[in-house]
Subunit: 120 residues, 2 copies
């Protein structure tokens, strides 16, 4: 039977940046939580749309032609194939909603690539 998930309680269980944790599975999609600080890398997800929801803090989502600034309580859906780069000037906590197959660095492999994400 299902249990509820409290976002802040789960976010309190880790502190490392750019390392998402899985907190839910539904319909082949996953809900993930992550803390971000600093600049990520430019990448795209060729097959997957990706939703970024800000829980606490603010996040700049850079696109090649503009930047969207997200505050707590706001989300954006990045369509498949669209290059983007998350930039967090201060620590930000986010929730992601994306297919279970989605890799954090998309079509790019780098030191930031994470596989075998843990479940909290």
């Amino acid at each position: 039977m299902p249990n509820k998930v409290n976002l802040l309680e789960k976010l309190g269980q880790f502190q490392d940046y750019w390392h998402p944790r899985i907190v839910g599975d539904l319909n082949g999609q996953q809900v993930k939580l992550a803390k971000l600080k600093g600049e990520f890398i430019w990448h795209a997800h060729e097959q997957e749309d990706e939703l970024f929801y800000v829980v606490e803090g603010s996040l700049d989502l850079e696109f090649r032609d503009r930047t969207v600034q997200l505050q707590a309580g706001e989300f954006i859906i990045v369509p498949k194939g669209v290059e983007h780069r998350p930039v967090a000037r201060e620590e930000v906590s986010i929730m992601l909603f994306e297919p279970a197959s989605t890799r954090n660095t998309g079509n790019v492999t780098s030191d930031l690539t994470r596989s075998d994400l843990e479940r909290l």
Copy 2:
């Protein structure tokens, strides 16, 4: 190109209960916002898992064997086939993640069934 969605701003655009609005589409899934007050009907979704996230207020999600009380900042995933009934003692604002095919009353047709949901 994608635009951001502010949950409270979208929620401010309607007031009727049990009438979800679509605010995002990704990977065959939809993000919906709704305001609830009172008791819904018992139902299940035979093919679709459904995520309830509380934005403001609190929500009782009744299952046949227990009740889970959700506060703002908490979510639960109701697996396909599991009977449930949302009950809001006071007005509550929620965000839903579910397949685009999901009908609000699932396997039950009633006066509360909504089709052709608007996009905000």
